[in-house]
């Protein structure tokens, strides 16, 4: 994009103005797309791989659909998450004899429509998942880059910090922090990020350490790139494959963590709604109306399962060794996919 900015100021006449625009556009396209043939080959490989992995394909389609539903929740959901009153409470879902189609999954004790609450809950849960992965991932990767590239004392201090935090795994601490700071979406995001950035830092540091000695990094240093440039434009792109798999796995973990906190009544609070909170609201009616627990539980399980499938597909996609292993496994049918963890 910097190519666009460095071009000379407005052209004198109409013709040059247009060609100038064209030139700038091709320039920008090249800058964005890089080497088109390799790009095309890579994307072709990506889709080929996706099509050959039926589970991965199904999981991706499922997740895309879920994300779309979450984004367009106000359009998709038949009612608002807290719309309704006691006069419409306890309506049965459609499969019961007295159920109606106006409330497909029925309503809860408050008269809120179950399906709408699930859709809005999905929205909050996914939002928290994405936000935590973004915040924790950015911070963790930065710390990892710093630690791995600087080495020495910085490395020792940062990794000491990571070790201390890793040694005490989060749920109890997260529970206390969120409960005391108050269970808003923002605190949940902050606390879960605080509890989860260490994995990224460790992985990034490991990759940076092995890349630092490679010729292309040394070459960049020799021709006088500043450390920032070496790290951001030469080292960082090589982290994409391992980081994206990790991020997807972490996303699944965050979904479960948020749901657990909200289920205990210490995470997301009314009037906001998340999948865990929907399950929490159903706790008191476990024996009289188990669907209040079972429906959100199944939705959450399906979500996490599919995220895991996508993660395993990504790992195969990015890791030639893993791909070879799977190929060998298919040829001899000695191991099944997903078994390499």
């Amino acid at each position: 994009m910097s190519e666009l900015e460095t071009h000379p100021s407005p052209a004198p006449d109409e013709y040059t103005a247009r060609t100038h625009d064209e030139e700038a556009a091709t320039h920008a396209e090249e800058a964005l797309e890089g080497r088109p043939f390799e790009m095309r080959a890579a994307t072709k490989g990506l889709f080929g791989e996706l099509l050959s992995d039926k589970t991965g394909l199904f999981a991706s389609v499922f997740l895309i659909a879920v994300v779309l539903v979450a984004i367009f929740a106000p359009l998709v959901a038949p009612y608002g998450p807290t719309e309704g009153n006691l006069s419409s409470s306890n309506i049965s879902p459609f499969w019961k004899s007295d159920g109606t189609w106006s409330h497909v999954l029925g309503t809860d004790q408050q008269g809120y429509d179950m399906l709408s609450r699930l859709i809005y809950g999905l929205r909050t849960s996914l939002l928290i998942g994405f936000a935590v992965v973004a915040v924790a991932g950015t911070f963790g990767v930065l710390m990892g880059l710093l630690s791995g590239y600087k080495g020495g004392r910085t490395d020792r201090i940062l990794m000491g910090w990571v070790d201390v935090q890793v040694a005490f795994p989060g749920l109890l601490l997260a529970l206390i922090m969120i409960a005391i700071l108050g269970g808003s979406v923002r605190t949940v995001i902050l606390v879960l990020s605080f509890n989860g950035w260490m994995v990224y830092a460790r992985m990034t540091r490991g990759v940076v350490l092995s890349l630092k000695e490679r010729p292309f990094v040394e070459a960049a240093e020799v021709i006088g790139c500043k450390p920032r440039r070496v790290v951001l434009t030469h080292i960082l792109p090589n982290l994409v494959s391992s980081l994206s798999t990790l991020a997807v796995l972490e996303f699944a973990r965050i979904l479960l963590a948020e749901a657990t906190l909200s289920f205990l009544g210490l995470g997301i609070q009314y009037p906001e709604v998340s999948l865990g909170l929907v399950a929490n609201n159903g706790r008191d009616y476990l024996f009289s109306a188990p669907r209040f627990i079972i429906i959100p539980g199944i939705v959450l399980s399906l979500l996490v399962l599919n995220v895991n499938f996508v993660a395993s597909w990504l790992r195969v996609l990015f890791d030639p060794q893993e791909r070879e292993k799977r190929f060998a496994a298919n040829a001899t049918s000695s191991t099944t996919p997903g078994a390499t963890t």
């Binding site: 000491g160 070790d163 201390v164 935090q165 040694a167 005490f168 795994p169 989060g170 749920l171 109890l172 601490l173 529970l175 206390i176 922090m177 409960a179 005391i180 700071l181 108050g182 699944a252 479960l256 749901a259 657990t260 289920f263 205990l264 210490l266 865990g276 399950a279 706790r283 476990l286 024996f287 188990p290 627990i293 079972i294 539980g297 959450l300 399980s301 399906l302 996490v304 399962l305 895991n308 496994a329 049918s333 000695s334 191991t335 099944t336 997903g338 078994a339 390499t340 963890t341």
Partner: protein, 306 residues
């Protein structure tokens, strides 16, 4: 060796100190719990007096300093919810129940995951293996609280399988299964892939060529080597169970342990009790972490602790 142990102990102290500071600062940041402790009818002076008594009128640093001073004498303050009881003795009263649950659950996870993982690894790709892999994937994706509720629903009521209530040990069955299942899902996959690798090694082939019985190869030779990755992950599961998962299981099954105590303490804003619970859990976590390292060395003599 001694130096290694000293290093680990130092790191353990850092963990305990770090966790304590974080909890201390956070609880003090949000304001004092005096309004939670006293009834609505309490006068302003009474509130002010309690505030001074509990030290909430001083700066966080000065409060922390006196907390450390008392902690050296194993005095962690009095609980504000369980009136006039030292927090340590409250925690002490609830701790055995949690240890009982975690011990039962993790023992179950240990036995079942080794058995299932080995079973799956004996004939990889065959139907038993496939079923186990699918089950474990499903188990990994299921949130623990959902699992607990389903177990509660379908075992206690629908099928009337388990009698709840007092009993010598039967009350332990459901909560420990709930605690163990996700761990079994993860651990059995570790055992499975480690065992598949081991059973394909040269020494196993050599042993079989010599005519050693198959069960002996599997259980005595291969399993011991497969235990190396298992130990680390089992320790990790144990820590997870102690410092988190029990909270969920105890909450659903109404188990009178540390997890439920933590939730009570949080809801009642009993800062001193929260502090002590976290401290005790942190000490246990540190001890387990160090123990794992030593067990690791015992399982794999090639590992040098340095």
């Amino acid at each position: 060796m001694g130096r290694y142990l000293a290093g680990r102990l130092l790191q353990g102290l850092a963990v305990i100190f770090g966790v304590t500071v974080v909890v201390f600062v956070i609880t003090r940041l949000v304001g004092d719990p005096v309004d939670f402790i006293l009834p609505l009818s309490a006068s302003t002076e009474q509130r002010a007096r309690l505030r001074t008594d509990l030290g909430f009128d001083r700066s966080i640093a000065s409060q922390f300093w006196s907390f450390l001073g008392d902690a050296v004498h194993l005095d962690f303050g009095n609980s504000t919810f369980y009136r006039n009881q030292g927090t340590l003795s409250v925690v002490w009263a609830f701790l055995p129940k949690t240890l009982e649950l975690v011990a039962a659950g993790m023992l179950l996870a240990f036995i079942v995951s080794i058995a299932l993982g080995t079973l799956a690894a004996l004939k990889p790709g065959k139907i038993t293996d496939k079923i186990l892999v699918v089950l474990s994937l499903g188990g990994l994706a299921t949130p623990q609280f959902f699992l607990c509720q389903v177990l509660l629903l379908y075992t206690s009521v629908e099928f009337n399988l388990v009698q709840f209530g007092p009993g010598p040990w039967t009350h332990l069955i459901m909560p420990s299964i709930a605690l163990a299942l996700p761990a079994i899902g993860r651990l059995s996959m570790v055992v499975r892939s480690a065992m598949i690798d081991e059973l394909n090694t040269q020494y196993v082939k050599a042993a079989r060529a010599k005519g050693i019985a198959r069960w002996r190869i599997v259980f005595i030779h291969a399993l011991r080597n497969a235990a190396i990755p298992f130990v680390t992950l089992f320790g990790w599961e144990l820590i997870r169970a102690l410092a988190g998962v029990t909270v969920v299981v105890e909450n659903v099954f109404n188990w009178p342990g540390l997890g439920n105590l933590a939730i009570t303490a949080i809801k009642e804003r009993d800062f001193f009790l929260i502090q002590t619970i976290v401290l005790v859990v942190a000490v246990m976590v540190v001890v387990i972490n160090i123990a794992i390292d030593f067990i690791y060395r015992f399982v794999d003599p090639r590992v040098k602790l340095s």
